[in-house]
C-alpha cells in the first residue's frame, strides 16, 4: 500500500482505536470527544504526565528498548534482556504515545516518539521480520516455537502501534515498518501456522481498515478460522489455554487464558463485521453473554486462575484467588466495544462502565508510577511496600508495583487511558449516543454535514446528575440517546422516570438546550448467583457504577473474620454498614460435627454476638466504612474484601455448634494424654 491510501478523515478527527467500516454505531475521533476536569481526565492526565515517562524509563532501564539497538548492532543474543515478548511493551508504549499525540498534537511527545521509532525501525530485517528474540545465530529459529514464542503476538502489537500512528499522524516510519511486517506475516503464514497468543488478528483487520489492503483482512480471517483445530501442540494447561481447543465459530463461552481469549474474540468480531459474516458475529456475541453470565467478577474482571491466568469453569469466581488481570480488563473492553459498535446494545456499555470504574481505575497508583497486575477481590494478608527501584517478579501483590518481569499491564493501561475518550460516545446517521458519563465536550458531524456538539457536566460517579448542554445543532431534528445503566433503577430524564437501557430524545435541539439525567447513585446491596460457591452467604455493596469494599485500615477486626449486618447508611458521601466479628468456633479442628439435623438447627443460638474490639458497641457490632474498591491499598499495606459474609442473625441462622462436644475440640493444641 501507500500511506496516501490512509483514510485522512481519521487524522483530522484525532484517530480512534477500532474503526469498523460497518456496524450500528460509529466511533468518534479523539478530537471529537475531549475529557474535561473530572474522574477520568485526572487519570488521563496522570497517564500523560507520569506513566508514559515512567514506562519509557523502565523500558530503557530494563534493557527492553536496548534490545532493538542490540539487534541493529548485531550484538544479540548476548545483549538481550527481558522475556520473549518484551518487544511488545515498546510497541504498546508507541501506541499510547500515538493516541496521546492524536488528541494533543504535543510536538515534544512527537519527538520522543520518533526517537523510539528510529530504534525500532533499525532492527527490522530486510524481509520485514522484526523480533529481538528469534532468528539470529544463538537464538531459536524464527517460528520454531509458535506455542510460546509470541512472534505473531509481537507483530500484532507492532501493527496496532502503526495503525494508531497512521490514524493520528497519517504517515510515519513506524507505519511503514508495520506494513512491511504485515506483508511478511501474510507471506509466511499464507497456508498454515498460528500464534500461541492471539493479537495479530485484530491488528491485521485494523491495518486493513487503515490501508484498504484486503490481503490483511483475509489473513486475519485465516488466523481466526485456523484456530481450534489443534494446529498448536498440546501443553500442560491444555489447548484451551490458547483457544486452540474448539473453533471460534463453535465455542459456547470464553475459556483459557483470559487475555488471549479476549484478543481473539475481538479479532473475530473485527473479521465478522468487515466480511459480513453474521454467523461468526453471532458466535462471539453468544460467547460474550455466556461469559458475562457465568465467568465474570462483580468488578467486570475476568480470569480466576493464577496458575494459567485463565478463566475457571462456570461460576468459579473466588474473590481471594481472583486473578482478574488488568490486561484482561483491557481485552474485555476491546471486545465489548466492538460488539457495542456492531449491535448498538447498551449491555456492552454497561460492562465497559463496570470494568472501567472497578478494574481500569483500580490498577494504577495515584502517581501513575505503580500498577496492579492482578486485581483481587479479597486480600487476606497485607503485602509489603515494593521498592520503587525494583522490578517485581510476582504478578500478585497487595500494593501497586512500579514494574514487573512480565510488564504487560502498565503499557496496556497507558494505551487505554490515552484513547479513553473514544469510549464515551458514538454517532449514527441520526444522532449521538452517550455511553459513559464524564465531564467532556462532544462535537461531530452527522451525515448531511450536520454539526452537533454538546458539553457534558457531571461529578459522576460521586454524584448521579449529568447535565448535557447542546452547543451546536442543525435545524432539523436529531436523536440524543442516553444510556441508563442497568443498576440505575429510579433514574429520571428531565424529571421523568426512565428505565435502564437506551433512552432516546428525538427532537429539534437548539444551542443552549439542556438535558438533565439523574442516576440514583445510592449504596445498594448485591447478592450473588447461588451457584457461585465462593461467595455463598455474602453480599457486596455497590454505589452507582462503583463496587465498594471493606479495608483493614478502617476496621477494628481482621477482614477475614468480618461479618456484615447489611443495613446501610450514607453520610457526607461515605457509605457505612454495621460490622461484627466472627465468633471463634470451638476447638482447633476447623470442622464441627454436632447434633445438627436440618430444621431444628435453626433454633440454636447463632453464637457469641461478637467480642469487644475497642471501637465496638455494647452488642459487639461496629460501624463499618465501605470505600470504592478502586481506592483500596492507597493507604499502605492492608487487607480488603468486596464480598462480605452476612452475620448469621442478619439473614439466616447457622447450624448449631456444640462446644461441649469433645469431638469438636480435638485435635487440640494442648497434649491431652500420653502413653507413658
Amino acid at each position: 500500500m501507500t500511506i496516501e491510501e490512509t483514510d485522512s478523515s481519521w487524522i483530522t478527527r484525532g484517530g480512534t482505536p477500532a474503526a469498523p467500516h460497518s456496524g450500528r454505531l460509529h466511533p468518534l475521533g479523539l478530537r471529537e470527544v475531549r475529557l474535561r476536569p473530572g474522574f477520568w481526565q485526572q487519570r488521563q492526565n496522570t497517564n500523560r504526565t507520569a506513566s508514559l515517562n515512567h514506562i519509557e524509563q523502565w523500558l530503557e532501564r530494563a534493557g527492553w528498548l536496548g534490545n532493538f539497538d542490540a539487534a541493529a548492532a548485531g550484538t544479540l543474543p548476548g545483549a538481550r534482556r527481558g522475556r520473549e515478548f518484551s518487544d511488545t511493551e515498546v510497541y504498546k508504549l508507541l501506541e499510547a504515545m500515538a493516541w496521546e499525540y492524536g488528541r494533543t498534537g504535543d510536538p515534544g511527545l512527537d519527538e520522543r516518539y520518533r526517537a523510539i521509532v528510529r530504534r525500532v525501525a533499525a532492527a527490522q530485517e530486510p524481509d520485514g521480520y522484526l523480533n529481538t528474540n528469534f532468528g539470529r545465530p544463538g537464538q531459536a529459529p524464527r517460528y520454531s516455537d509458535l506455542e510460546w514464542g509470541h512472534e505473531l503476538y509481537s507483530f500484532g502489537h507492532l501493527i496496532q502501534a502503526g495503525v494508531a500512528r497512521a490514524r493520528t499522524a497519517g504517515h510515519d516510519e513506524l507505519v511503514h515498518v508495520a506494513v512491511r511486517a504485515a506483508d511478511h506475516v501474510c507471506e509466511v503464514f499464507a497456508d498454515r501456522g498460528l500464534c500461541g497468543h492471539p493479537e495479530i488478528e485484530p491488528a491485521l483487520v485494523e491495518l486493513y481498515r487503515v490501508t484498504g489492503e484486503r490481503r490483511y483482512l483475509d489473513q486475519a480471517r485465516k488466523f481466526v478460522d485456523r484456530r481450534g483445530h489443534h494446529e498448536l501442540a498440546d501443553i500442560e494447561f491444555g489447548r484451551a489455554y490458547f483457544q486452540d481447543d474448539v473453533p471460534v465459530r463453535d465455542a459456547e463461552i470464553l475459556r483459557g487464558h483470559a487475555v488471549r481469549a479476549a484478543y481473539l474474540a475481538a479479532g473475530a468480531v473485527d473479521v465478522a463485521v468487515e466480511t459480513g459474516d453474521t454467523a461468526l458475529l453471532d458466535a462471539v456475541t453468544r460467547q460474550w453473554h455466556a461469559t458475562v453470565a457465568r465467568r465474570t467478577y462483580l468488578t467486570g474482571g475476568t480470569g480466576s486462575r493464577h496458575q494459567d491466568e485463565a478463566f475457571g469453569e462456570d461460576h468459579v469466581l473466588p474473590p481471594d484467588r481472583a486473578y482478574s488481570e488488568t490486561c484482561a480488563a483491557v481485552g474485555s473492553m476491546m471486545l465489548s466495544w466492538r460488539l457495542l459498535l456492531a449491535h448498538g446494545d447498551a449491555v456492552y456499555a454497561d460492562l465497559i462502565e463496570r470494568t472501567l470504574f472497578n478494574v481500569i481505575a483500580t490498577s494504577p497508583a495515584d502517581d501513575g508510577r505503580g500498577f496492579f497486575y492482578t486485581n483481587t477481590l479479597h486480600q487476606r494478608v497485607p503485602g509489603t511496600v515494593p521498592d520503587p527501584g525494583q522490578l517485581v517478579p510476582r504478578a500478585a501483590s497487595s500494593l501497586r508495583a512500579p514494574w514487573f518481569a512480565v510488564s504487560c499491564c502498565p503499557t496496556n493501561l497507558a494505551r487505554t487511558f490515552a484513547g479513553l475518550a473514544a469510549y464515551l460516545a458514538t454517532r449514527d446517521d441520526d444522532g449521538l449516543q452517550i455511553h459513559q458519563y464524564a465531564a467532556a465536550t462532544l462535537a461531530t458531524t452527522l451525515p448531511g454535514d450536520r454539526r452537533v456538539a454538546c458539553e457534558m457536566d457531571t461529578e459522576y460517579p460521586v454524584d448521579g446528575r449529568i447535565t448535557i448542554r447542546v452547543t451546536e445543532s442543525p435545524a432539523d431534528p436529531w436523536t440524543l440517546s442516553l444510556r441508563v445503566p442497568a443498576w440505575a433503577v429510579g433514574a429520571t430524564l428531565d424529571g421523568t422516570p426512565v428505565t435502564p437501557g437506551w433512552n432516546r430524545l428525538h427532537r429539534r435541539f437548539s444551542p443552549g438546550d439542556v438535558v438533565v439525567l439523574d442516576l440514583p447513585v445510592r449504596a445498594r446491596i448485591t447478592t450473588p448467583d447461588p451457584r457461585i460457591d465462593a461467595v455463598r452467604g455474602c453480599v457486596a455493596v455497590e454505589r452507582g457504577p462503583l463496587v465498594l469494599c471493606a479495608e483493614s485500615v478502617d476496621l477494628p477486626v481482621d477482614v477475614n473474620a468480618l461479618q456484615i449486618v447489611p443495613q446501610l447508611t450514607e453520610r457526607d458521601g461515605s457509605v457505612f454498614a454495621t460490622g461484627r466479628r466472627v465468633s471463634d468456633p470451638p476447638g482447633s479442628w476447623p470442622y464441627n460435627t454436632s447434633a445438627f439435623s436440618g430444621e431444628s438447627a435453626g433454633e440454636a443460638p447463632a453464637g457469641d454476638p461478637g467480642e469487644a474490639d475497642g471501637s465496638g458497641r455494647p452488642d459487639g457490632t461496629f460501624e463499618l466504612p465501605l470505600h470504592p474498591y478502586h481506592r483500596w491499598a492507597r493507604r499502605g499495606p492492608s487487607t480488603m474484601r468486596v464480598w462480605l459474609p452476612l452475620a448469621p442473625s442478619a439473614v439466616h441462622r447457622e447450624p448449631a455448634r456444640a462446644p461441649e462436644n469433645p469431638a469438636a475440640q480435638r485435635p487440640d493444641p494442648t497434649p491431652e494424654g500420653t502413653a507413658s
Copy 2:
C-alpha cells in the same frame, strides 16, 4: 561406617519407616504388625501385585531408569529423559521394594530389586556424587541451581531407599551407595548450601539412626538451621515456596509448597528428637496444630494452590481448586507419625486416619495402575478417560492417570502402602497402643522380654466394631491403649461408654481374652469454620473416618446446581440425603441488586423449590446418595462434590430476589434495543 554397625534388631523385625532413638512411643517392625484381609490389606496387595510392576515398567518406558545406564555408558546428556528429579522415582520404587521385601522376604522381588540397584550403583561417581542431570559436559555444573535443581532432594530419596534396605536386609550395594552419597553431601555442604526441595534432612537423620554416624545427624541439623535465612535466591513464588522465608524455629505455621513444607518439618522433628532439642520440637508441634486448624481440608489433604502446589493463606480451602497433592498427604503422614512417636497424643493418629482413608485411599485406581496426583473436593466438569499408554502432562484430572510428566505420587504411594502396617500400632515400656483399626495381627516384645500378641478383627470402616483377641501375654499386667477417634462420640469399650482420645486398659491379660471397641459409624453432618469462605453455607457428610461425596453418576441434576436438605438416612449400608436443584436466578448477569435490606429479606420467598428433573418428587426434591469420597471417579468420568450447599429452606433464607426488576435482568442475551 561399616554396615555391621546397622542395628540388626530392625532386620529381624522387618524394618520400619522412621525409627527414632527416643520419644514416648516406639514403632513396631513390619514383621510385628501384619495386615489381614480387609480394607488396607487389599490395597497393600494391589500395590505389591500391580503398582510395583506398573511403576517399574513406566520407569523403563519413560527412560528414567535408562538414564542411569546412560550415565554409566557416558552417553549423557544426549540420552537423558525426564525432568530434573526423575532419578528420585527410581529411588522411591527401591524404597517401596525394600519395605515389601522386609515384610515378605520374597526372593523374586529381591532379584528385581538387585537388578535395579546395580544400574543405579554403576552411575555413582568416584567421589560419591550421583545424579543423571548434572555435572557432565553439556549439563549444568553440580550444585549450580540449588533453588530448582533438586540434587540434595535426590540424594535424600537415595538415602531413604538405602535406609529401607539396611533395615530390611542389613547390607546391600544400595546401602553402600547411600552412605557414599551422604559422605559426599556432608563434605560439600559442611559450611553452606541448601536445597530448594527439603528431603535430605529426614534422610540424613534416618541414616544416622541406622549407622550411628553422628556426622549425618549434625549435617541434617545444619540444613534445618540454615533454612529461613534467605540462603536461596528469591523466586517468582517467593522464598516461602521452599520455606527459606523464616527459620524453622520461628515459623508459626506450615506454608509454601506443601510437600516441601511437610518433608522439612518431618526432618526437623527427627533432628529435634535425636538431639533433645525441645525448642525445635515445640516449634514444629505448634506449626502442626496451626496448620490443622487453619490450612487443612476435611479429607486431611493440604495445599490449595495449583500454581505453586502450595498452602494458601489461613482458611483458604477452596474445594474446587483444591490441589491436595497425594504426595503432600504422604508428607503429612510422615510428619504426624513422627509427632505421634514423640508426644504420644492421639490427635496425630486422628489426622493420619483421616488422611489415610480420604487421600491415600482415594488416589490409586482399583487396579493399582492409575493415580490421582491432585485430590480435589469438587470436580465441576467431567474429565476424559486417560489413554493407559500415555504419560499425562497435567497433574489435575478427573480420572486417575497411569503416569505423569512429574510422577512423584505413584512411587510415594508405593512406599507408603508397602510400609503401611507400621502406622497401626506402637509400643512403650508398658504395653501396646493401637492407633489405626484394621484386620491385623500384632506381636512384639516389651522390655523385660515380655511377649505380647493379639489379633484385631474388624470390618472397619464399613462397620465400627473392633475385636481384639489377646494371643500372647506375660503373666504380669500391661496396658492395652486404644485410640477412640475424635469423631467417635458415643463409643463403647466392652459395653462401657468411652470418650475420644486414649482409653487404656491396664490389667493382667491372658491368651484368649477379648476386648471389644464399638465406634459409632453412622452418617453425620459436619459444618465448617465460618472463616472458610469457600464452603460457607455448606455442610459435608461423614461416616466414621470416611468423608462422603455426591457424584454426578447418581444424580438427576448438575452437581454444581445441587443443594442439600440435610436429613440423612442409612439403608443397606448406604447413606442418603435429600437433594434439590438450585433454582435459576433471573437474568444473565449473575449479581442481583434488589430492595434487600437486612431483616426484611428474611420474609421473602426462598425461590422456586425446584424443577421436576425426571426422578424428582412432587416437591422438587430427590433422594441423594452419598458415597465414600475415596470411591469417586471409579465409574467413569463424573462431577463430584464433598461440600453440599444447604437448601435455603433447610437452614436459612436467602435474600429476596426481584425478577421483575429490569436491572436484575440485564445484560440480556436478547438485544433489547438498537440505536439505528
